[in-house]
């Protein structure tokens, strides 16, 4: 049923797109600043800063996985029509450079993580190459940097909206501060010895570093790598020896594997936590702020009991 609805939704999306194209270009010019954000979380930041003055188009929508995303010609068209393209950087969107070139867009490309100190992937003995952890938004301190970068870029692209952007940014930063307080409070309530979980996708490095939480992942950083029997065995041993209390599913990785590990170790299965993408509109994590709230609620529920 859900799939049918979303098919219907995408049909509507196509219709809207057709209407948008049909509108005379002149009518659009004085309207909103067209920008593209590569994935849903970044898009949410841009919406909050840009407010009514920008229209944000996403390449990887909610619930999508930017690691294994396949660009389509429609995406190149979106880029060509944009004035500003926001990307995460840190090689999160490996496909974006080629796509930008192929689209021939004249938009300026803004790397939203500019100024954030990258974390190396914490990977002790793995054979795959060392890299930078791209999931910087998982720390709210970094989210502030994203927002500031987005504000600066929008001011450059649309100087007339400077005041609006600055006001929106200030409002949003206040909201972020409130959420950050909630997250810290939630973590403080979890006994220190229980602040560690297993999750299927290594995307919470920044969260863990910022808030003193240990995330142990059965997979490497990318959802592209396939898991081996040795990895699973290691995790199971680790859960048993370190007495890790909970295993969390993620919205984008193989839930069957998590279930198997939980069955075998007796660890509790936590709810869904969101890492790389927001939930669809109306879901429990349809904005960045909701996502952070949702995640901390899930962690508390599984670990404080």
């Amino acid at each position: 049923m859900k799939a049918f609805m979303s098919i219907r939704r995408s049909i509507f999306a196509v219709l809207y797109a057709a209407i948008a194209v049909a509108l005379p270009a002149a009518a659009r010019a004085q309207e909103k600043l067209p920008v593209v954000a590569t994935f849903s979380i970044l898009g949410d930041f841009v919406k909050n800063v840009g407010g009514d003055r920008v229209s944000v188009t996403l390449l990887v929508g909610p619930e999508g996985d930017a690691h294994v995303y396949q660009p389509s010609p429609a995406d190149a068209k979106k880029l060509a029509a944009a004035k500003v393209i926001f990307v995460n950087g840190f090689k999160f969107e490996g496909w974006i450079e080629r796509l930008i070139k192929a689209s021939g867009t004249k938009a300026s490309v803004v790397v939203a993580t500019k100024g954030i100190k990258p974390r190396e992937m914490a990977d002790e003995d793995h054979d795959h190459e060392q890299g930078v952890d791209p999931h910087a938004w998982q720390s709210i301190a970094n989210a502030r940097v994203y927002v500031a970068n987005i504000r600066d870029a929008l001011v450059v692209a649309d100087p007339g909206g400077k005041e609006t952007y600055e006001k929106n940014t200030a409002d949003y930063l206040a909201k972020l501060a409130a959420v950050e307080a909630e997250v810290k409070e939630g973590i403080a309530k979890i006994p220190a010895a229980r602040r560690k979980i297993i999750t299927s996708h290594d995307a919470f490095g920044y969260f863990g570093a910022a808030y003193g939480f240990e995330f142990i992942a059965p997979q490497g950083v990318s959802t592209e790598t396939e898991i081996s029997a040795r990895d699973v065995a290691k995790i199971i041993r680790q859960i048993k020896t370190q007495k890790i209390p909970a295993v969390f599913l993620e919205n984008i990785s193989d839930p069957r594997l998590m279930q198997r590990i939980a069955d075998e170790t007796g660890a509790k299965i936590g709810g869904k936590i969101y890492s790389d993408s927001l939930s669809a509109a109306g879901g429990t994590a349809s904005t960045y702020i909701d996502m952070m709230r949702h995640n901390i609620r899930q962690l508390s529920a599984a670990l404080t009991s």
Partner: protein, 288 residues
């Protein structure tokens, strides 16, 4: 030795489950593979595996990683392509391989289209690659059930199947069993591929079916021993592949198939029946 071969299976339940899954796939798939090979339909399995993917993907999109939906989707897509291709081949000038190619390509494209309609990119890799390490009860029962059905059906259909392999025109001339046998056999192939894609994924499902069969061809002249050898090769590939994945950290599915591939290469070189060996070590001349 114990630590190397037995301990992984004693310590970890997921390894035992993977082992049972691999055994069931070997028992059901390898005999079907032998018949496919003898009927010169080795590549049909590959085409059918691609034809199943869209069905499974549609099932996946409609209800997530649901065993039931993905199985039904795969079976429906597989049967549609097999029957459609057979129908076109029998009633038109087009040969079976060409019509099968046409049908499975259309099916594959349709699947990709449906997936892209969804807009989001939920990890289809899990459909493509499956996970032999995450077999739950329901999946194991499904795979074992398919193996049971396969073996029973093969036992019942043994004679007409062998006849159909050797001389389909003869079978057609003496009884009407030709078409039903062929259909039942195609159904078995689809069932086994669907079972295998839960464990190994669509891309690798065919591997455990065809490689042991091709290897067995070099060791036996009669059908029964060929099937026994094929099953044995598949079983050993499963065990060794899992151990390789456990000790080296290689992905489990590909490891199993690659071990079967090694068996195949060794058989090509050393196999006594029609292998390379006869070029280097001439047999005794038979003299009167």
């Amino acid at each position: 030795m114990y630590d190397f071969l037995i301990a992984p299976f004693v310590e970890f339940e997921f390894m035992r489950r993977a082992l049972v899954g691999a055994f069931a796939l070997a028992l059901g798939g390898a005999p079907v593979g032998v018949f496919l090979m003898l009927r010169r339909m080795s590549l049909t399995g590959d085409a059918m595996a691609h034809a199943i993917l869209p069905g499974a993907a549609v099932g996946f999109l409609v209800s997530g990683l649901s065993l039931f939906a993905m199985t039904v989707g795969g079976i429906v897509a597989g049967f549609t392509v097999a029957l459609g291709a057979g129908l076109v081949a029998r009633s038109t000038e087009l040969k079976e391989d060409a019509s099968l190619a046409a049908f499975y390509l259309v099916s594959l494209a349709l699947g990709v289209l449906i997936v892209s309609l969804k807009g989001s990119n939920i990890d289809l890799l899990h459909v493509l690659f499956g996970s032999v390490l995450a077999l739950d009860d329901a999946t194991l029962i499904l795979i074992a059930g398919i193996a049971t059905i396969s073996l029973l059906t093969l036992a019942i259909l043994w004679r007409p199947l062998v006849l159909e392999c050797v001389d389909p025109n003869f079978l057609r001339s003496v009884s009407g069993a030709g078409a039903p046998t062929h259909l039942a056999f195609l159904a078995l192939m689809v069932l086994n591929l669907v079972g295998a894609f839960h464990g190994l994924g669509t891309l690798l499902a065919v591997g455990l079916m065809m490689l042991p069969a091709a290897a067995a061809r070099f060791w036996a002249k009669d059908l029964t021993s060929m099937i026994v050898i094929a099953v044995a090769v598949a079983v050993v590939s499963g065990v060794v592949g899992l151990l390789v994945s456990y000790h080296s950290g290689a992905a489990a599915g590909p490891a199993i198939i690659l071990v079967a591939g090694v068996f195949y290469v060794v058989s090509v070189v050393l196999g006594p029946v029609g292998g390379l060996r006869r070029h280097f070590v001439p047999g005794r001349h038979l003299e009167a």
